[in-house]
Symmetry: D2
Subunit: 100 residues, 4 copies
């Protein structure tokens, strides 16, 4: 089952600068061969369900290893069986309706 995910990982107990931890997670997602798109409040990920959630689990393990005692992550995830749809398709579809 293919999944489109938007994941935002927030390490807790490491002060206010979180980008080092987010960058580690980005690397793990890329090393897993997943298609990703970083934005200002998270990362869009496209891939097979198992591979996506394995990678997110590795993110948690790695972020704990490099010092975060606690992590809270939010995920939006979409699946559909009516048609194939990529991350780019979703953006283009909205932009077309906006007259772009």
């Amino acid at each position: 089952m293919k999944v489109l995910v938007d994941v935002s990982i927030v390490p807790i107990g490491v002060g206010t600068s979180l980008s080092k931890y987010v960058a580690e997670c980005e690397k793990i997602l890329k090393e897993a061969g997943l298609k990703t798109m970083l934005h200002a409040n998270g990362t869009n990920v496209e891939g097979d369900w198992e591979e996506v959630f394995d990678a997110i689990k590795k993110c948690h393990q790695r972020v704990h290893e490099i010092g975060a005692p606690r992590i809270t992550t939010t995920i939006r995830l979409g699946t559909r069986v009516d048609k194939e749809q990529t991350m780019e398709d979703k953006i283009k579809s909205v932009e077309m309706k906006m007259g772009k």
Copy 2:
């Protein structure tokens, strides 16, 4: 790795009455032996990472099977390595600070 999760599954393309689909997912979470607590905007789930996400995947598969062409789900998930903490612990901790 233990995880505390808050999951809200929203089937799309089946009209405005969603509780039938949410109930199917509740059954799957319970059948998986996971500790759950239903609330007005989702379900808290406590368990092993693999078991929790396997159950959420089964929810998606089942909700597609019974007619939803598209699903969007949101998840808050927490892990911590500094101490053990249950769903009840989290609630009690806030209530104590409120003077209850």
Copy 3:
């Protein structure tokens, strides 16, 4: 416009114990006269759109005042114009479908 909200406030830069801050926010929501239900990963709130978001804004202001330099909050919010529905209605509707 009436809204059902699920809000989870996460102060950043104050260590790993967050319940003190969550409790402050609970008090603000209650003082605003809003109907609330605390759960393990957030708080359900029911009320008028303006009053709910005014209260959430006051939560952020208060949590900054008592020491959190940064806050990340997640909100699920629902509105509907087809029928009236309370937090209790939503829970009962799912429980009925589960055969409870």
Copy 4:
């Protein structure tokens, strides 16, 4: 109070094609003069708290007007008092740590 928000609006009861409704909301955010960045699972918005949430309320009103009986929206929102930070700052900060 300045806020960085990530908002994803999901109309319910209008079938599986949602981009028309998302596009309406994009227009409202832009007309409000807010800085926005559309991504595959939502829209990043930067602005004053009141203006951002007024615009999100207008999105709900408009999406109901054009036919959606029910809407569920998810929001991630961040405020900080330790430093100024834009959407671009957040992305650059992660990319630098990734060695870009």
